[in-house]
Symmetry: C2
Subunit: 172 residues, 2 copies
DNA sequence: AGCCGTTGATTGAGCGTTCAGCCACCGTTC
DNA sequence: GAACGGTGGCTGAACGCTCAATCAACGGCT
């Protein structure tokens, strides 16, 4: 990396050794954890984590249904991605679409009973994995540190306009 | 989620409110950050982050070349994934394959001059993004907390037999 | 020599995501 | 009421990844 510092057109603020160690540890930990949780959910419940989150989000709603846009926002997903995902979930019988009366462009995604059952099946194993590989590895103090850190990063990203649903925001 | 605790066949140890807040914040922060970095690298340098890491790993090697297996381990990638990736990188002219004399099954992946140039182009923007959206959002204390947390999680995953592909000792 | 399990690496199908483009509908304006 | 830009949602192609299958070469064995 040092050799590149000289070659670069405009010297950026490179990371210090400590920062780089933290960054690389963070990168590996988040990636491995995500992969592990993904694999667990796929293996035990036959759904990717993103789909699990869709089901969770729907289940936390009074009528177990949401407009596609609203669902996309809450799951921080693009509309396209959600559209494909709901199509898959519909094939699995876990979600069904419903027309919207007030806005005929709109569509609802609705959690079916099978979908709720699948969620009930999937949740314990997933939560157990999260606890085992994240929460239980940390002291209570570290858990709250992690929350503070995550919220700081989130705030920074949102302040920078890195909002998922807003393609117009980035310009130059 | 509480309703599901009763329905599930075996569901001990749900997350407390604090733990769940921490988990969800972590989830969103890591995901948004990863997506942002991915997008930045793709937009500014035309490569996904995984490919960037391959180039970095090759560049940090004396001869700028590594056996495929070795490269797969260092980038924590599956062999298959790496094989596909190197194929793409070869198309881009950033990497070239070379036969291995000692083991005729083997193959080297070698960083080309164009590949190194692409890396030199890409690195400043990427590092800047990491700094801006992660490091600069945190106090120095939080950075070291994050490192400790990440290492704890990593150690837990490795203890649990999750294939890390990389023993703790090796670094760059 | 011949066999046989292992290892290095590639391949192709399938899946999820992104991106760009599209259509249908909305609300406003003239 | 016709035209307009904006919005809700869908589609298809391209891409990266995973998984299982495959192949060739190695190395130890008798």
């Amino acid at each position: 990396m040092d050799t590149m510092a000289e070659t670069a057109t405009r010297a950026p603020r490179w990371l210090s050794d400590d920062e780089q160690r933290a960054w690389r540890a963070y990168l590996q930990a988040t990636r491995l954890l995500a992969e592990h949780l993904e694999a667990q959910l796929q293996r035990d419940s036959g759904m990717p984590h993103a789909y699990y989150e869709i089901l969770v989000t729907l289940s936390e709603t009074p009528e177990r249904r949401l407009r596609m846009s609203e669902l996309a926002e809450r799951t921080r997903s693009s509309r396209s991605r959600l559209s494909h995902a709901v199509a898959r979930l519909e094939e699995a019988g876990w979600v069904q679409r419903a027309n919207c009366a007030e806005d005929r462009r709109g569509a609802f995604a609705e959690l079916t009973d099978d979908g709720f059952a699948a969620l009930v099946e999937a949740a314990p194993g997933h939560v157990e994995a999260v606890r085992t590989h994240l929460i239980d590895q940390l002291t209570p103090e570290q858990v709250s540190q992690l929350q503070a850190i995550s919220e700081a990063v989130l705030a920074g990203l949102e302040r920078a306009g890195v909002d998922t649903g807003c393609p117009m925001g980035s310009n130059s």
